[in-house]
């Protein structure tokens, strides 16, 4: 998709400036300036197209103030694809003004090259203690020095071993009824290996054989939404090649953002690449979120023990508005015996993470997060389940800042706990 910014003219004029986006934009809710709501962003982009405005620092800043949460897109009466417009503006900025040196290094050297990323992350695990200190209560870690990211940002430590090195390429089960390939995504591979383990355990127990292609790399979303299309395309092609090689019934993801990238963005990104556009569509048609796959498996509810806990659920933006997965995780949670499911208010508003947004606009991102933490807290739940590692990290950070003791986990982990509880006696259960 090598569209010039000008080619978005038709999309831009579809904004009738009604202002409905003011009602849902999490950034606007905080900043209140007209330039920080979708309608303003669209007008600014229109200004650049009509040459009223240049790619000034002010414009670049306004374009960076978008979480890409799609709340405005689904709420827009004329269906303006605001996220796509902001992405096109960022692409224009990246091409005309270049990326920041930090982003350049991360996108073009690290994320694109699997072995550099892997080596970096493995080395990083050893050296992270030099750069980060432990967070309060021994949870997470805080930056010791300025990395261009906020020093108060609680990051989860890198895992002892990357997820992919913990498992063989094929996790077999006897009498498999289905074969799926697991796209792990970066955060599961390097940080939340517990989520990855839960995905495998749950699928295995349902007779699903899981393949973990070792040559998969980052889905490319952080690169694409920051405007570096060339790198994003290279990464998309590599993942398409890796996954289409596998003979599987589905490609399972446990992250809404990765999922949306594989399912829809690749096909759009490679629209003009005759060698890949069909392949991208084929891969897209195979992608299923973990929860979508699980609810389609017969008898998945039968294997659960009792979990006497109160649970609430947060909808990740790209899972609920991207992959349109809303009911499946709730269905899973509600089916666990003993679980009391308490819906929070505004479960589908953004947690404020926005991937790298939270690193560059930490203050703002925590304010947005405060509302989420408040609605999570009000449910009185002991466990917050969600379907995205970035949300998990950001909400954990928020709960930590406010001193609220609550476990945050992927829906897969909750289900894994329920399966484990099956064999447990009441006495052992007390200890959980």
């Amino acid at each position: 998709m090598d569209r010039s910014l000008e080619s978005w003219q038709k999309e831009v004029i579809r904004c009738i400036r009604c202002g409905a986006c003011q009602n849902v934009c999490p950034v606007f809710k905080e900043l209140q300036a007209e330039s920080t709501v979708a309608r303003g962003r669209v007008k600014l982009i229109r200004g650049v197209i009509s040459k009223d405005l240049d790619l000034t620092d002010g414009f670049i800043d306004k374009m960076s103030l978008c979480l890409m949460c799609k709340a405005c897109v689904v709420n827009c009466p004329s269906g303006v694809k605001v996220d796509k417009l902001v992405e096109a503006a960022r692409k224009e900025i990246a091409e005309k003004k270049g990326l920041s040196p930090f982003k350049n290094l991360i996108f073009r050297l690290v994320l694109k090259n699997r072995w550099v990323f892997n080596t970096g992350m493995r080395t990083g695990r050893i050296f992270q203690g030099l750069v980060f200190r432990k967070g309060p209560n021994g949870q997470g870690m805080l930056p010791r020095m300025s990395l261009g990211i906020d020093k108060r940002r609680l990051l989860s430590p890198l895992a002892q071993k990357p997820f992919k090195s913990m498992y063989p390429g094929v996790v077999k089960v006897s009498e498999a009824t289905m074969r799926v390939a697991f796209f792990t995504g970066c955060m599961i591979n390097y940080i939340y290996t517990d989520t990855g383990r839960a995905v495998i355990n749950v699928l295995n127990q349902n007779g699903v054989e899981v393949i973990i292609p070792s040559l998969q790399n980052c889905c490319g979303t952080p690169v694409r939404i920051n405007g570096d299309y060339e790198t994003a395309k290279t990464m998309a092609r590599a993942n398409i090649d890796v996954f289409l090689k596998e003979k599987v019934d589905a490609v399972v993801v446990a992250c809404g953002t990765c999922g949306l990238s594989l399912k829809e963005e690749y096909a759009e990104l490679l629209k003009d690449d005759p060698n890949y556009v069909e392949k991208a569509k084929k891969l897209g048609s195979m992608v299923k979120d973990f929860t979508e796959l699980v609810v389609s498996l017969e008898g998945f509810e039968g294997k659960m023990g009792r979990l006497p806990v109160k649970v609430t659920y947060h909808d990740p933006c790209h899972l609920v508005r991207g992959l349109k997965v809303k009911e499946q995780p709730r269905q899973i949670i509600r089916s666990i015996p003993g679980v009391i499911f308490e819906e929070m208010t505004k479960a589908d508003t953004c947690c404020g993470s926005g991937g790298s947004f939270s690193l560059y606009h930490y203050e703002l991102s925590t304010k947005i997060n405060d509302y989420k933490v408040e609605s999570v807290h009000q449910t009185g739940a002991e466990i917050l389940a969600t379907g995205c590692s970035a949300c998990r990290m950001h909400i954990e950070d928020g709960l930590n800042r406010q001193g609220i003791p609550m476990q945050v986990m992927h829906t897969a982990q909750l289900l894994e706990m329920a399966y484990e509880a099956k064999g447990l006696t009441a006495e052992k259960l007390m200890k959980i």
């Binding site: 004029i13 202002g19 409905a20 209140q32 007209e34 309608r39 009223d52 405005l53 002010g58």
Partner: protein, 463 residues
């Protein structure tokens, strides 16, 4: 804007509540209207976000002293060009003054600051069984201050009236910086001129509203919804007149024409016959015992006047499904052409068939697409022009057509604007309705209150 003015403003509101960057100011050159500000000429000098009446008064005093134009603004959702910047002016945004100060169930009133979102007030009062009826399409994001300044209406106008019918008192800052209190907390109040009603709908030209007292009514117990499909639009229009004449007052009576029907059906698949001339969406509310009887009567009228299909919602979900057609109307037609211009000519209810006819003639004459989606119950027809603003030749025809629609509306005994306001969009037409004397009286009122013409210059009276 001179740096010392910015400095003084910054001292009043604090530097975090003031914007001077090009990209920020660029976003005050528009509102939801079709009025185009000339960015080079009309860019504001500064945007300020005060937090209380005292700050507003200080800003206005300064502006009046220095003769700087001030454009008051809420959510910027008006559709008449009432809040766009006019040169080196101060954009005065009241969104930070967003507290519901009081909901008084004993006296059935609420007191709010101007930045409160209308929908938010509605859900708060509904929680205790009360009702604030005005329901502009923007209610989920427009502000009470803006609704009062524009005298916003909505579909419920047919039964419950408009914003003006609910505002009983105001606190406002006059263009000279003094604070005035009008009306009060009582339903009956004839002390002096009715300044409350004058300020309501004054479009930011006479004062800046800083506090609003509205009356509330008990929340109707239940609702019942139905839809009737007619082969010809004229049958639907007659049905509207007949329902009203029978003494039935639905709380919404919405009319969709064939262009809407076809597009809605293609887009949302709600089961509308695409050859139908018009659809009426009718809702009644009140005590649950009387609803079935009312709907029954309306059903009979619809059948008698030629409805070929009638659907009465039996459950909440079915009602929701019927409303889905209406709600998807906009998205549906926006697929057809990229630019949508919504007009709000309003005629006496008995003139609806004639008005529809005239609008269709004008559309044919200029070869443009005009769809009609109206609050038919109160004669408020929303002629929707579907066009493409990048096509300059077509846009010229559109402008001519709009001018003719205005004139036709007034000829039919209607109003230039039912609920959108005059703003900058219709100021050149104002005399066709008010007459020269009418305009002159309004001008003198403006002059008396705002001798330096600093508040929203250009709105209503033209540049």
């Amino acid at each position: 804007m001179r740096p010392e003015i910015i400095q003084k403003l910054s001292e009043i509101v604090g530097k975090d509540n003031l914007y001077t960057e090009l990209e920020d100011l660029y976003c005050y050159t528009y509102d939801a209207s079709f009025v185009k500000a000339d960015f080079k000429k009309d860019l504001a000098g500064v945007a300020v976000y005060p937090s209380n009446t005292e700050e507003v008064a200080q800003i206005i005093k300064l502006a009046n002293q220095e003769m700087i134009p001030v454009v008051p603004r809420g959510a910027g959702t008006n559709v008449s060009g009432g809040t766009i910047s006019v040169g080196d002016c101060i954009i005065l945004v009241l969104k930070r003054m967003n507290k519901i100060l009081e909901i008084d169930g004993k006296n059935l009133i609420a007191v709010v600051e101007p930045g409160v979102i209308t929908g938010q007030l509605q859900s708060e009062v509904e929680r205790i069984g009360l009702f604030y009826p005005p329901d502009p399409a923007s209610q989920a994001f427009s502000t009470m201050g803006g609704n009062v300044a524009e005298c916003a209406g909505g579909p419920r106008g047919v039964k419950y009236g408009v914003t003006r019918d609910y505002v009983i008192g105001l606190e406002a800052v006059l263009p000279t910086g003094e604070v005035i209190n009008t009306g009060g907390r009582t339903i009956k109040n004839v002390t002096g001129y009715d300044m409350t009603k004058l300020f309501t709908g004054s479009e930011g030209t006479l004062c800046v509203i800083t506090k609003i007292i509205v009356k509330l009514i008990p929340l109707p117990e239940a609702k019942s919804t139905m839809m009737a499909v007619f082969p010809e639009i004229v049958q639907a229009c007659e049905t509207v007149s007949e329902i009203i004449a029978t003494g039935l007052v639905p709380c919404s009576l919405e009319l969709l024409d064939n262009i809407y029907i076809r597009n809605i059906e293609e887009y949302a698949k709600v089961g509308l016959p695409t050859e139908a001339g018009a659809v009426l969406l009718i809702e009644v509310d009140g005590d649950s015992e009387i609803l079935a009887k009312q709907i029954g009567k309306i059903e009979k009228i619809c059948s008698r006047l030629g409805a070929v299909q009638i659907r009465v919602a039996k459950t909440k979900e079915e009602a929701e499904e019927l409303w889905r057609a209406r709600r998807s109307a906009f998205a549906a037609v926006s697929r057809l052409r990229p630019t949508i211009i919504g007009e709000d000519a309003t005629v006496p209810r008995s003139s609806i068939p004639a008005a529809v006819n005239r609008i269709q003639e004008i559309a044919a004459k200029y070869n443009i697409i005009v769809a009609i989606l109206g609050h038919a119950g109160d004669g408020n027809l929303h002629a929707t022009i579907l066009t493409d603003e990048t096509d300059l030749e077509e846009m010229a025809r559109v402008e001519k057509a709009i001018d003719e629609i205005f004139i036709a509306t007034v000829e039919l005994g209607g109003s230039l604007s039912g609920e959108h306001g005059i703003g900058r969009a219709k100021s050149k037409f104002i005399t066709i309705q008010t007459g020269e004397v009418g305009l002159e009286v309004q001008r003198q009122i403006k002059q008396a209150l705002d001798p330096n013409n600093i508040l929203n210059p250009g709105v209503m009276f033209g540049a």
